[in-house]
Point group: C2
Chain length 619, copies 2
């Protein structure tokens, strides 16, 4: 067969298989798969370089379906490549199958989970940054975009940074099939407008008929020839192309064909095929980044001096940079506040400014870890709320990323509530498999930063803007899942739990209460998730079941609820034999501007309020 004939046959197979799997499942998105089948056939046959026997090979291209609902097409590609069997493909959407409704990386060929639109392109920017500037390998990132998702602002963050960093190793393919879930998209088939937008963001844009195999072929060749610009191929397509009963017709989004229609569709498409494609393997190559680690020397701080934990974060990240060549820094244009700038200045070749684009900040981290790097991404803690959907999806991607949020709580002071993270602990705790750390002093912060490097999953550290006293000797050891009992005696009547800035208030309260003859136990709960249930249970038991938890955070889902978790049960796990009586001191009114101490006092989380809460407990 000629190349065009081969492409056509393969494209028809991809369509047929997208229909077969979705009809077998009784749900799914065949029409959104069929529109991009020609584009994928040419890619698979002639352009993709991927060793399916070694999905983690550093030289492999990356194929990311940003329009994750076209998963049936992706699985049809894997079948054609011999990576999965026809039989497994037909387990689409079945309980227990790897062939899920949207792609997830339990399939080794899938880099990241998609299905929340507008994430594939931003993540591709992270992979491409790694490819061009760290690995320095010639692989390409092929991204398949839907046209509806071009409305997501996150895609324009990716466009601007892709252009800014001249990521010519990205080839994005816009499957402009005109129809969204419930009608026409904002731009319909106005390819010129997409092209103008892409060009204004620094991209090379190519407009083609997405069902013309020769045009597709030429576009890929033209994209590969780019040396300083990423490419967006705007492919005009028809949703459901190839089956006249649904092609370019509204009302067929996310609907599997019933058996009789599927039969007619297969007939029109020329029936089942089982073409196997010998996908090009990439040339051999190794990443340019050194893999030689050296001994880690963490910064230390003199007990009794004062240092902000955000500053310790910066120092420790720089130290990590010296020891671990795979550590990468990312920041959202506030590195002089988060102190990521210490790393940036020491290791500029491994630091990537993400500007004020927090979705892209997290997406770049996800992309970096696809290539095995250890990304540390920082911004103000409040602004991670901007990227919550990316963090949620990163967990589904089983990604290993490290996030650091500075300027948490009312204790930031004069800037006011827009800059105060008061929901970050909540938000980060409710991420599957996450780790949430909130250090209370600089030596502890430095140690925890080091532990973050090897901790899998989404690892979040909340740091404090204000300088706080160094409580611990540099020799003291801390662990993820640990806590520290900082004040303790046999006479303790109430347990007070704090973390970060509030631990210091708890210590002031301890001194005052001690002077009045009241003894409290004070716990530094620096590991908010996982939480040290044993220590909390023991403390509650020792102090008559009386606990006060104090946090610079809203009352819902933060430190207080982390403490309660130590006492509740779950399936197969009994709750504590006795539940303590718990008073939560948290922020419950809207703060304004003011000095940190004024605001903490107004929020009811300062030492006097802890003292009052303890006394109220004791009647």
């Amino acid at each position: 067969m000629s190349a065009p004939e081969q492409w056509h046959e393969l494209a028809q197979q991809l369509r047929v298989d997208s229909i077969r799997s979705t009809t077998a499942a009784g749900s799914g998105h065949p029409s959104s798969s069929m529109s991009a089948a020609d584009l994928m056939a040419v890619l698979l046959q002639d352009y993709l370089h991927y060793d399916f026997s070694q999905p983690k090979a550093p030289t492999n291209d990356h194929l990311i379906f940003s329009k994750g609902h076209a998963a049936p097409l992706l699985y049809a590609i894997y079948k054609a490549a011999g990576a999965i069997s026809d039989q497994e493909m037909l387990t689409l959407r079945k309980f227990g199958s790897r062939i899920e409704g949207h792609p997830v990386p339990i399939l080794p060929y899938v880099d990241v989970a998609t299905g929340s639109l507008g994430q594939g392109l931003p993540i591709s920017v992270g992979v491409a940054l790694a490819g061009k500037y760290l690995d320095k390998l010639p692989y390409h990132v092929w991204v398949v975009l839907g046209d509806s998702e071009m409305a997501e602002g996150s895609n324009w963050e990716a466009m601007e940074l892709g252009g800014f960093y001249k990521l010519n190793n990205i080839i994005a393919i816009l499957d402009m099939n005109r129809l969204g879930q419930r009608g026409q998209t904002m731009l319909g088939w106005d390819g010129d407008q997409y092209a103008a937008r892409a060009r204004s963001f620094g991209w090379h844009a190519i407009e083609i008929d997405g069902h013309n195999l020769d045009q597709i072929n030429s576009a890929y060749a033209e994209a590969l020839a780019q040396t300083a610009q990423p490419t967006l191929i705007i492919a005009r397509t028809e949703k459901g192309h190839g089956f006249s009963e649904i092609a370019n017709k509204d009302g067929w989004h996310g609907k599997a064909l019933p058996a009789d229609m599927a039969e007619r569709a297969l007939k029109e498409l020329g029936g089942e095929r089982h073409i196997s494609v010998a996908v090009h393997k990439p040339a051999a190559g190794v990443p340019a980044t050194s893999s030689e680690c050296t001994a880690l020397t963490l910064p230390t701080y003199a007990k009794g001096s004062t240092t902000a934990t955000r500053s310790a974060y910066g120092d420790a990240l720089k130290a990590l940079g010296a020891a671990l060549p795979d550590v990468v820094g990312l920041d959202g244009e506030v590195s002089n506040s988060t102190y990521a700038e210490y790393f940036a200045k020491a290791y500029p070749e491994r630091f990537f400014e993400q500007y004020i684009a927090e979705q892209q900040l997290v997406a770049s981290a996800v992309g970096m870890q696809v290539r095995g790097y250890k990304p540390f991404a920082s911004t103000f803690a409040a602004f991670f709320a901007r990227a919550y959907d990316f963090i949620r999806m990163a967990a589904i991607s089983r990604a290993n990323i490290k996030l650091s949020g500075s300027h948490a709580g009312v204790s930031i002071g004069e800037d006011g509530p827009s800059q105060m993270a008061l929901e970050d602990l909540t938000m980060m705790r409710a991420v599957f498999g996450s780790t949430v750390l909130y250090p209370s002093d600089a030596n502890q912060a430095a140690q925890l930063v080091a532990l973050m490097a090897d901790q899998p999953g989404i690892v979040y550290m909340r740091t404090t803007r204000e300088k706080t006293p160094v409580l611990y000797d540099p020799s003291e050891k801390f662990s993820i899942g640990g806590s520290r009992v900082v004040r303790q005696s046999d006479a303790d009547q109430v347990t007070v739990v704090g973390a970060g800035i509030t631990l210091h208030e708890a210590l002031k309260a301890y001194d005052q209460l001690k002077a009045e003859g009241v003894s409290i136990r004070v716990i530094d709960l620096y590991s908010v998730k996982p939480v040290d249930a044993a220590t909390l249970r023991a403390a509650a038991h020792a102090t008559g079941g009386r606990m006060v938890v104090v946090e610079d955070h809203w009352a819902e889902g933060g430190l207080g609820d982390a403490v309660l978790e130590a006492f509740t049960g779950a399936e197969g796990q009994a709750p504590a034999a006795a539940f303590p009586r718990v008073v939560k001191l948290a922020v419950t009114s809207m703060p304004g501007s003011g000095q940190p101490a004024e605001l903490m006092d107004a929020a009811g989380i300062s030492a006097p309020h802890i003292v009052a809460a303890v006394k109220a407990f004791l009647g």
Copy 2:
């Protein structure tokens, strides 16, 4: 004085006042204020139409500082307009002052809180939609943008929708001062590139020297003449313009001038002035929208039939639309899933498609409520995570918006985890002053939708994809903050709390346990926030302090923690005398695809798991 002389004098006053207030505060952003002073002087003197004695007048223009850190400039404008005194202006950033570090609407002239960048323009789109299509009044929305924040994807969502809806009543002023917080912005002074981007998104773009008063004047006149396009004025400015020691110099972001520098600056700027501007008042006018409400007739569902609560949401919203002319519908291109389409079809003139741009979806709602409308915004519950920072800021704006998230939890089935909201209850509970509802049947859902309309603050309803049995008679009454004991006897040994889909599992568990001679109390906790503490405490007391909470949600911060909230104390509020022993059944492993029943069972939240948890409790 000639107009240019007047403008100049006023601009210098705005600069001087920005320095005076920040130097008095010892912190703040004078340099970011000074760059835009000329732009604001011309606006205030000749273009803004605003009656400061009637800030809520429907015909007023709107002035939104998207670059909220330029708040000192905004306050200087208010002083010049006579809205606040010089003395109050100088309370900037002081505890208890209305003159906060970033603008908040406790000042009546501030429409919405800003300070999280990239929000002012999206919110302006909402205000402008209201102005052009609902109020049909000739007011304009003037938006002051920073150049750093143009990196936020949210601004491009606003650009695309502003263009799509032909919002010629928006005049956005880009203060292109080149310098961000920590160095040059991505585009520096490349005004052509901003202009190209704006044009490609359907905007009219004008490039000017932002310190040339005549050019500013001409640009405003040109912008006002637009009939079918919003305008972006790209004003090349210098950060710190007017004071040679800091003008266009890096390192002066967010820094107040020390007293000696401030003195030199005032000297260079010509000293203190106290010019008072008689700001143009708008012409009289009334909104085109009817204010006549009619009786509300909610949909009803026959007890024992099955209906998805998302469908009841759609029916009830349509009914609200008939009764209340100020109800507006917004959706993120999934209205055929959220069933906002029922409203959209009935009231197309009050429905605004926001496409797949969830940040804009929420921002438009915030903008609509600035003009007094009652916006109901819907998308998949999972995708509100995309807009979490907008929801956080909406609370700081004291905004009244209603959000509805469909497709929550593993019970959505085959689509897989990317489409499953498992953190929405957590996220929404941790919003200041929020209300969180999770109806368990269609009649209840309809009633709660009606209650949402008048509930202040951020009001969220989680709906269920699957059809569930109608449990309640249409005559039964429900309230925000309420709950319903659906199974109860004197012999109850354990309390089981569910909501939404899990209530139905709890009822199945009840039947099975009853057949085995075990009696449980079952509570429908449809109001997740505020929570009905009295009923929960009474139930715990009645059932030996044994409680099982079951939720289709992660374990952190959701229904389980809402239940615990009923037992903990806070400042001045004692915890329950006896704390129950609580077992939380929640989603604790990553779900995949499958049938709803399979996934609920795998997650450990189905009836058999509830039965097992109850039995484990009873030993």
